[in-house]
């Protein structure tokens, strides 16, 4: 199984870099995972990641994108609750990148 090296320790990830054990996650590590995705974490990025983490804690599942969009709009206003904004923050897609950074399991989308 591939590893992600961080802070002198090594963590199990799948071959796309998603953490295998959500308990391993911490903030500093998230910043590091973000770097591998070419994402520099700002407060705006954290708003998304924190939402994902909260949602996951409550429902044990990553939200559908449309729910993410709706909830972002509710919490931060329509200018942050839309697809375009999310892709500006996470150019390879919020499902792929933000979930990875949040330490959530890989979303199992359909093809």
């Amino acid at each position: 199984m591939p590893n992600f090296e961080f802070g002198g320790k090594s963590y199990d990830v799948d071959e796309e870099g998603y953490l295998q054990n959500p308990e391993d996650w911490n903030k500093e590590m998230a910043e590091e995972i973000a770097k591998t995705e070419g994402v520099e974490m700002t407060e705006k990025h954290w708003e998304v990641v924190n939402f994902l983490k909260d949602y996951y804690k409550e429902y044990q599942i990553a939200p559908m994108i449309k729910i993410l969009i709706k909830e972002m709009a509710k919490m931060f206003g329509p200018e942050k609750g839309n697809n375009k904004y999310l892709y500006e923050l996470y150019p390879s897609g919020p499902a792929k990148q933000a979930c990875k950074i949040a330490g959530l399991p890989k979303p199992t989308g359909c093809v």
Partner: protein, 394 residues
Amino acid sequence: MSETPLLDELEKGQWPSFVSEIKKSAKKNKKAEGLLGQLELSYKEKKTHWKHGGIVGVRGYGGGVIGRFSDVGEEFPGAAHFHTIRVNQTAGFFYTAEALRKICDIWDRHGSGLTNLHGSTGDLVLLGADTDSLEDIFCELSKEGWDLGGSGGGVRTPSCCVGPARCEFSCYDTLALNQDITMTYQDELHRPSFAYKWKFKFSGCPNDCVAAIARSDFAVIGTWRDDIQIDQDAAAEYVQNGLDIQTDLLAKCPTRCIEWDGSLRINNPDCTKCMHCINVMPKALRPGKDKGACILMGAKAPIVQGALLASVIVPFIRLQPPYDEIKGIIKKIWEFWDENGVARERIGECIQRVGLGNFLEAIGVEISPQVVTQPRDNPYIFYEEYYEEEGGEG
């Protein structure tokens, strides 16, 4: 002895074989070579060696590339990553040879060289990319004017029949509508945010050459409202030339609304526009002049739940640019789906769950006789209008 005895079996017989094509590519391409090895192993062990799922993509897009990872990548390095790239095909599949050559060149350089024209979504499919080459491939394709198609829970690459470009039966410009819809919904196509996939398919007449009625969430099928156009002389010619009009035409009209007594007579109000007579006598019969399309919704193949055929939503709509009416309907439907859809449920299943009547009411489409399968035969059905009347009296 051959290294692929099982696959060799698939080259026997008179048909073209995908194995021969993979072998041809394998001679000059490492990825195709890996695929060949892995496939032989799969036939030997009777199981797939593709892992389930995997998210890969290019920057700015949430779809268009489908991740394929091998679980025997160490044994067959070429197959370790074998992602599928969906390239948005042209409307009606018109390409110049030069354009196709350029795609193939890009693909020989960066991928396995293996393609699939066209996948069941309609896309031009490039098979077998490494994760690391995806951005380069995307850049080169873009430079040549191509774009990726859709995947995941969003709008899939719209697809249409050849329509008026080559076919005299077409009742609307399928190519133009396909292009317009593709461009209008770029965001929904490239940045999927629906509960599940959404397929648009456009057929110019009820022959439905793209099988929209069976394969798309939103099918637009050309039709007409007036009478079938008849050229009696041409019809007589068919009969003179030996057409068995009774067996091959009259008896096969599903509603028996067509008669022959030396000239053809059609009881048009009974015609279900099945196209049969027109297909038998294309020179004598033509669709009517009052042309448009019928919108049907909800078809799907059997994934997650069983297969569904589409149901009529709007029996007749005229289709002229800028297509505001149909876009208005789409908007309403998506709003409804957004509110009511659940993950991995197609719109057809969603409509079944909430009921077609409720769905039509929600999207503001008036219920017409064409959307009813059969009149009621059960007197214990609750009807709102009767209820209101009684309420008024009492």
